[in-house]
Amino acid sequence: MDQLSQPGAPTPGVQPKNWLVESILVTIFCCLPFGIVGIIYASKVNSEWAAGRFAEAETASKEAGKWTKIGFFVGLGVLVLYLIFYFIMGVALFSGAARFNN
């Protein structure tokens, strides 16, 4: 919050989190393009910060976090839906097989 200082000053405050690592993980593990949007915003965080546009870097950081989280939870949601579906199919097949055996 007190990160704003004059441009050109050496490392004013702490650069906002760029979510790059999280974005990479989402890209590789969640099979969804949201991670790539995260990487684009991560890039924006770094370049805005380097250019001294600290407010813009802060905004890009929030966007990067948002898209990374969307990717994570959509991936998680798909996984949970899949497991539920798989479980129901399993039960259905199992009971079907049981009926067949009777």
């Binding site: 490392t11 702490v14 650069q15 760029n18 790059l20 690592v21 990479i24 993980l25 890209t27 590789i28 593990f29 969640c30 099979c31 969804l32 393009p33 790539i36 990487i39 684009i40 991560a42 890039s43 965080v45 770094n46 370049s47 910060w49 380097a50 798909v78 996984l79 899949y82 497991l83 798989y86």
Partner: protein, 134 residues
């Protein structure tokens, strides 16, 4: 609160690691398929990750690279990021461990990921090396 979250994440990761160690997603049928691949028939940058993790957990980096070389290449980056975070925890800033925060680094990652996505879908040699294969 944050610690609880980390502990839960650690437990979930451990269980996942055991599952991916015991079962081979290349053979077992209960692992989820990539939604992008299922819908489009094209590989996404993450396709092959589950099979690659199984191979990695068995120490076979070559086989893991065959399924998803991007995942294998990301491991040093993840290790670096972990080391950088430990450095920051101790010293309060990233010091010289600031690669993740250099303007060129995420750009490079983006180019690599997008190139990988495109190239691994080309159906001819040498790009077929990038598609998931044994």
């Amino acid at each position: 609160m944050k610690l609880t979250g980390n502990i839960i994440a650690l437990i979930v990761l451990s269980i996942a690691a055991v599952i991916y160690f015991i079962f081979n997603p290349a053979v077992a049928s209960f692992f989820p398929n990539c939604p992008f691949y299922s819908l489009t028939g094209y590989y996404c940058p993450g396709c092959g990750s589950q099979r690659a993790i199984h191979q990695l957990l068995h120490g076979d980096i070559i086989a893991a690279s065959g399924y998803n070389v991007l995942l294998v290449l990301s491991l040093p980056v993840l290790a670096y990021a972990a080391a950088a975070n430990i450095y920051k925890m101790v010293n309060g800033n990233y010091g010289r461990w600031d690669l993740i925060y250099k303007p060129w680094f995420p750009k490079t990652v983006l180019v690599v990921v997008l190139s990988f996505w495109l190239l691994r879908n080309l159906p001819f040699y040498p790009f077929t090396i990038l598609a998931p294969h044994t």
